[in-house]
């Protein structure tokens, strides 16, 4: 099981802050799997400026995921 988190504008657009699912593969593959959940998911995950973190470290699309990883998707940050 991996845990997937969504923040800010993404969380709102998907109406989801977190979910758990069985998955093995890389980040790009996870996006494809999630995109099958519906049109909103497909559109949000197709945006080219969304960021991904794996276990709280920024990760690229080709990073492979293992069981119990925490994966997060979020828009560019705007703190400070």
């Amino acid at each position: 099981m991996i845990r997937v988190l969504f923040f800010a504008k993404l969380r709102e657009a998907l109406g989801t802050s977190s979910l758990n699912l069985e998955y093995s593969g890389d980040v790009a593959g996870l996006k494809q799997v999630l995109s099958l959940r519906g049109e909103a998911w497909r559109q949000v995950l197709a945006q080219d400026n969304i960021l991904c973190a794996v276990n709280q470290q920024v990760a690229a699309d080709d990073q492979s995921l293992s069981s119990s990883d925490e994966v997060a998707f979020f828009p560019p940050v705007t703190g400070g």
């Binding site: 800010a8 504008k9 709280q56 470290q57 705007t78 703190g79 400070g80």
Partner: protein, 150 residues
């Protein structure tokens, strides 16, 4: 080295924080305080909601602080970032840095702010005067500011 990183709803007191950094070895302390402005992009903002990614926020700030501390031999760094609802005129963030000399303290403080803006997972949502709300967009000028340290 003294490091203090806090992500909290509560306000902070710059006098207290300065006191924690002051020592007989540090000739310079530079403090940056970010304040919520009433106007943004030409609109009146009534309040702001600050969301973050608990855990990753603290880790990313600590990584930025470590990098700055090593690069400029800083003596102490305090970063306090508020979350939750904020009103115009309220303090949002404090970055305070102590060092032997002022050049290091200025550079370290500015470096930490520039990377806090572009790497720490915080997101601002503005509540406008007309009842609508909007997520603040990231600014390319912040990316440029971080880029110059490479």
């Amino acid at each position: 080295m003294f490091v203090r990183v806090l992500v909290q709803e509560d306000d902070f007191d710059v006098g207290d924080e300065l006191g924690r950094l002051r020592s007989e070895n540090s000739g310079a302390i530079v403090q940056f305080v970010g304040v919520m402005r009433e106007r943004n992009e030409g609109d009146v903002v009534q309040s702001m909601l600050l969301e973050h990614y608990p855990g990753m926020t603290e880790r990313s700030i600590e990584a930025i602080v470590s990098e700055a501390a090593e690069r400029w031999s800083l003596h102490g760094v305090t970063v306090i970032h508020r979350i939750g609802e904020l009103l115009p005129g309220e303090q949002i963030v404090l970055v305070a840095v102590s060092a032997k000399h002022r050049q290091a303290a200025f550079a370290g403080c500015e470096f930490i702010m520039d990377f806090l803006k572009t790497r720490a997972p915080f997101w601002k949502k503005e509540q406008l005067g007309d009842g609508s709300s909007r997520w603040v967009d990231a600014r390319s000028s912040d990316d440029d500011a971080a880029q110059r340290w490479q």
